[in-house]
């Protein structure tokens, strides 16, 4: 829209998009993980704290206490569902999580159509901490470094792109 200022016609503002910068995506992701740690993990923290011993002691302790392992699995399962809901609800409705909001980056479909909940959910299955999804923990983010628009592998697969907007 052309705008008028003191009677002078100025050229209209244009918004252009490009793939979001890598550092913004990474920091935004860590902010989201921090949020999830506070809102999702914290209520479960009353059941346990981190082990003082090393990993070997923890593994041994878990092996000797199957009921503890079972409880941890339930907590992990519920936390994963809630984490997936956090990303899927927010990204499908407004295209942003808190981390993305802070850095003013968005997700949208490559064809610019409204994102569906299930599509976003699929793009975030990397968060599932069970086999075979854990393979994606490495493959999925590495793809960002080699992709033209800094897309994760699952984003490429689901045709979702994370963008940042510039006003010119």
């Amino acid at each position: 829209m052309p705008r008028k200022k003191r009677g002078v016609d100025l050229p209209g503002m244009r918004t252009v998009e490009s793939g979001a910068q890598l550092w913004k995506r990474i920091v935004a992701f860590f902010i989201d993980i921090l949020v999830l740690d506070i809102i999702i993990i914290a209520p479960f923290r009353k059941y346990f704290s981190m082990p003082a011993g090393g990993i070997a002691e923890s593994v041994e302790f878990l092996a000797n206490n199957p009921e503890v392992t079972q409880t941890l699995k339930i907590i992990l399962f519920l936390s994963t569902i809630l984490a997936l809901l956090y990303f899927s609800i927010l990204e499908s409705r407004i295209g942003q999580t808190l981390g993305k909001y802070i850095f003013k980056i968005y997700v949208r479909s490559e064809d610019k159509k409204q994102l569906s909940f299930w599509k976003v959910l699929l793009s975030n299955i990397t968060l599932i901490p069970f086999f075979p999804f854990i393979i994606l923990w490495i493959v999925d983010p590495i793809h960002m470094f080699f992709s033209k628009n800094n897309q994760r592998l699952m984003e490429k697969f689901t045709k979702i792109i994370t963008v940042q907007k510039y006003v010119v």
């Binding site: 209520p43 009353k46 002691e57 923890s58 041994e60 206490n65 407004i94 808190l98």
Partner: protein, 297 residues
């Protein structure tokens, strides 16, 4: 701004969901710990199981306490177990279970009797390596009781009679619906004496005392912490710091970190326990009247 509102709303909704879900998870006690001394509280009347009532008497469940002792004992981070005792005693069986679990632990065990560590509570304390008691705490009371209310006079007044149908003449010994015969009274007292002897010898063995010495003290009389120290029933009078200092000396460390081991009851546990309790008494009323007086230490 609209987006921020949505984000805040979703975050709050998820936090609430996580909070509600966490209440439904039955969590085992202890789990991982970040301290080197486990603190286990023996608080309330010692029973084998906690019936899970919403209100009423505080129960120290032997099953739960034994599980916590085992967890602490298995955890390589834990070097000592400190028991904070506030119990007037309870079931003889439950007290013995706790005392046995304490003795089986391979870590340094210390008891701190804060307010009351009497009877079964003292039995458990005696199984530890070292007992610290508040100078004004009530302790000792080494004795056995199995009293109960007898309703036969009350029932007679209201025209309710007890129809005695038993196979085996002592099957309904101790029923509250009739008076004890002298023979039955003698039998019950003999049983109490047996448990009393067992209790005395356990304390004697745990405390490294002569049985005759303990028997002299085992009149059921309670002793204040300061008196108990003189009688060798406790090692030292003091407070929690005294117990912690003993552990530091024993472990040869400058600092210890206490981590409380406790059973976390979820809403689901409480509801299911309450339901079980109600169904148990409902069923019991229908099919059974095999009451025996509970033997308490």
């Amino acid at each position: 701004m609209g987006n921020l509102k949505t984000i805040i709303f979703v975050i709050l909704a998820l936090w609430l969901s996580a909070f509600i879900l966490s209440a439904f998870i039955p969590a085992p006690g202890g789990v991982f710990v970040d301290g080197n001394v486990a603190l286990i509280k023996i608080d309330g009347v010692i029973m084998t199981e906690d019936p899970g009532s919403f209100f009423g008497t505080k129960i120290a469940s032997a099953s739960e306490i034994v599980k916590l002792i085992e967890l602490a004992d298995e955890n390589p981070s834990v070097e000592a177990i400190l028991f904070e005792i506030n119990s007037p005693g309870g079931s003889a069986v439950a007290s013995l279970e706790i005392a046995s679990a304490i003795k089986d632990a391979n870590k340094t065990t210390v008891a701190y009797i804060r307010e009351v560590g009497a009877s079964g509570g003292y039995w458990a304390a005696s199984a530890t390596d070292y007992i610290v008691a508040n100078p004004l705490a009530v302790t000792g009371s080494i004795g056995v009781i199995s009293s109960y209310l007898e309703f036969s006079g009350f029932m007679e007044k209201y025209g309710i009679s007890y129809q005695r149908l038993v196979a085996g003449k002592f099957k309904d010994i101790g029923t509250p619906y009739r008076n004890l015969t002298s023979e039955e009274e003698k039998i019950l007292l003999e049983k109490l004496d047996l448990i009393h002897d067992y209790f005395v010898s356990a304390v004697a063995e745990n405390r490294g005392m002569n049985e005759s010495e303990v028997k002299e003290l085992a009149t059921g009389m309670f002793y204040l912490g300061a008196e108990a120290e003189e009688l060798n029933l406790v090692d030292k009078t003091g407070d929690l710091e005294t117990a912690k200092n003993y552990i530091k000396d024993k472990l040869k460390v400058d600092e210890i970190t206490l981590v409380e081991y406790k059973e976390h009851s979820s809403f689901f546990d409480i509801f299911s326990a309450k339901l079980n309790e109600n169904f148990f008494f409902f069923g019991k009323g229908l099919v059974s009247s095999d009451e025996k007086p509970l033997i308490m230490t």
